[in-house]
């Protein structure tokens, strides 16, 4: 059996689940900055409180998989992406702590909400920066990183950061559209009407720029024109459905369409990058660890994944339906 391929599949699944799940709660966090009413902000935070930390499990899964299964890639990518990764982790830490402090310190809640939003925005942007740097391609010499840690601040990664942030805001808007009612529902409608076109515009600029900067993408389009075309069309159709379902019933449709849209974006990226683990540089098989490490990792993955999926599902199930406006303390 092709173990490195399996491990890569697991890593890809973790990344996809992370983006889809944590994406919307980072988006909700970023939207706190635009919401002037404290009651509505409480409501927004309440809607993500039950599930946000479960969502972030997948980020850890990705890191562990990369370290255990593809040590060469880990060794190249960690120094290359050092600044955005550290900034992202600090921002996520800031956000996680704020969850607790905003609940406990009522008089300072406004300030904590600003910190919360900044943490969310920085985390989202840093993920975009990482994505952009990967698309542009990191400089390597043999099996080590040979570029500068500031390489990720080129135009393409910076635009990518904006794109990911907008994508998360769209997901966050979809989530609020689904989970809230009354005033906040209206807020989500207004958000989506502005954020979705902005996201699509940035997305196309990024895609065009990526095509110019990274020859590997042109090659991939020539090898899989049909596959990539299908994925691209799915993305556009999903975006179209999303835009048309804003403010209409069922409330869940924008979220479903948004998830399909982002998922097809990830699928497209996977097709572009495959079979490389350091995009356009090192392949899955050249970067993989020993067979024994792979078996060890995959065994762990088989045991842990159902557990994580199980408790995530339970959390979403228990807190299904609209988030009560009085919050969970009611």
């Amino acid at each position: 059996m092709d173990l490195p391929l399996l491990s890569a599949g697991f890593a890809a699944l973790s990344v996809a689940l992370y983006v889809l799940l944590d994406g919307f709660d980072l988006g909700v966090g970023a939207l706190l900055l635009l919401q002037p009413h404290e009651k509505s902000r409480n409501h927004m935070v309440d809607s993500i409180t039950p599930t946000w930390d479960g969502n972030e499990t997948w980020l850890i899964m990705t890191g562990v998989t990369l370290l255990a299964a593809f040590p060469v890639a880990y060794g190249i990518l960690m120094p290359a992406l050092y600044i955005p990764i550290i900034a992202m982790l600090l921002a996520l830490g800031l956000r996680g702590v704020t969850f607790e402090f905003r609940a406990q310190m009522k008089p300072y809640r406004r300030r904590w909400d600003v910190v919360f939003a900044i943490g969310s925005i920085v985390a989202a942007c840093m993920q975009g920066l990482i994505l952009g740097a990967l698309i542009e391609g990191v400089s390597i010499d043999g099996a080590t990183f040979s570029g500068s840690v500031f390489d990720c601040f080129h135009p393409l990664p910076l635009l990518c950061a904006l794109c990911v942030l907008e994508g998360y805001v769209v997901l966050g808007g979809c989530w609020l559209h689904f989970k809230t009612s009354a005033l906040l529902h209206g807020f989500s409608v207004r958000t989506l009407r502005i954020a979705l076109p902005l996201f699509l515009l940035t997305f196309f600029v990024v895609a065009g720029l990526a095509l110019l900067v990274q020859p590997g993408i042109r090659v991939a389009w020539q090898t899989h024109p049909l596959l990539l075309g299908t994925v691209g069309c799915t993305l556009l159709i999903a975006a179209f459905i999303l835009f048309n379902s804003i403010g209409k019933r069922p409330d869940v449709r924008p979220l479903a369409a948004g998830m399909v849209m982002i998922a097809s974006g990830i699928a497209g990226l996977a097709i572009l990058v495959f079979p490389m683990v350091v995009p356009f540089r090192v392949s899955i098989w050249n970067a993989s660890s020993s067979r024994l490490s792979q078996i060890f990792l995959l065994t762990g993955a088989i045991v842990v994944t159902p557990v994580v999926l199980g408790y995530s599902f339970l959390a979403y199930w228990v807190f299904r339906g609209k988030t009560p406006e009085k919050g969970w303390d009611g």
Binding site: Y82, Q104, P324, G327
Partner: protein, 218 residues
């Protein structure tokens, strides 16, 4: 462990003392000053009255960790463990005598012991991290060969950012704790107004209202 007990010679004198304070001189491979309890080292470390304890000279100097850091990391961790054990046993004794909540000296001792857990953890951490030097992976990879290609200034900058953010957390935490303490135990609510806890969500009336909302939303 050769560094953790504070002995330099390959074998200590017999019976060996148990050192609490030493002033090690790494270059000359000796202690300039050492203070300990006689014979206790033999009893604790070798479980006999006259046992000899291995010293750091068993390891070649270029492979030795820095004795002082390992020694004091271990002493802090171990010393606090003894104090914690003393606190636990005396609390049991006082509880048995029905004096647990009225013995002022003991309660004051507990206040002083509040940060003991974190300090002991840090001591243990220093013991482990300095004690394994110069190895990153013992016997296989030296720390100096495992250095990342990220420039030192970048690492310093992120370390400073890390310290700043965590100092901010710490400040907020202390501010919050101070407020609770100032409020005193009588005013504390059984369940804080908005505690961030989700236990409430499982109560039937909250679930019902959520489900009612869900039905209304369809």
């Amino acid at each position: 462990m050769q560094a953790a007990e504070g002995f330099w010679e390959k074998e200590s004198a017999s019976p060996a003392p148990y050192y609490w304070v030493i002033l090690p001189d790494q270059k000359e491979q000796r202690n300039r000053f050492a203070l300990g309890i006689p014979s206790l080292g033999s009893i604790w470390l070798t479980h006999s009255l006259h046992g000899r304890v291995e010293g750091l000279k068993n390891t070649p100097p270029d492979r030795q960790p820095i004795m002082g850091m390992v020694f004091y990391g271990f002493r802090i961790m171990y010393g606090i463990a003894i104090l914690m054990f003393a606190a636990a046993t005396s609390s049991l004794w006082l509880r048995w005598r029905h004096r647990l909540y009225t013995t002022t000296w003991f309660l004051r001792f507990l206040i002083v012991m509040t940060p003991s857990g974190i300090i002991a953890t840090l001591g243990g951490w220093y013991l482990a991290e300095t004690g394994r030097q110069p190895w990153a992976i013992f016997g296989l990879l030296r720390t100096i060969d495992a250095v990342s290609p990220v420039p030192a200034q970048t690492l310093l900058a992120t370390l400073i950012a890390f310290v700043c953010i965590y100092a901010f957390f710490m400040a907020a935490f202390l501010f919050f704790v101070a407020r609770i303490i100032r409020r005193g135990p009588d005013l504390a609510l059984a369940q804080a107004d908005a505690s961030g806890s989700l236990k409430n969500a499982f109560r039937s009336h909250v679930l019902d209202s959520a489900n009612a909302n869900a039905v209304a939303g369809r």
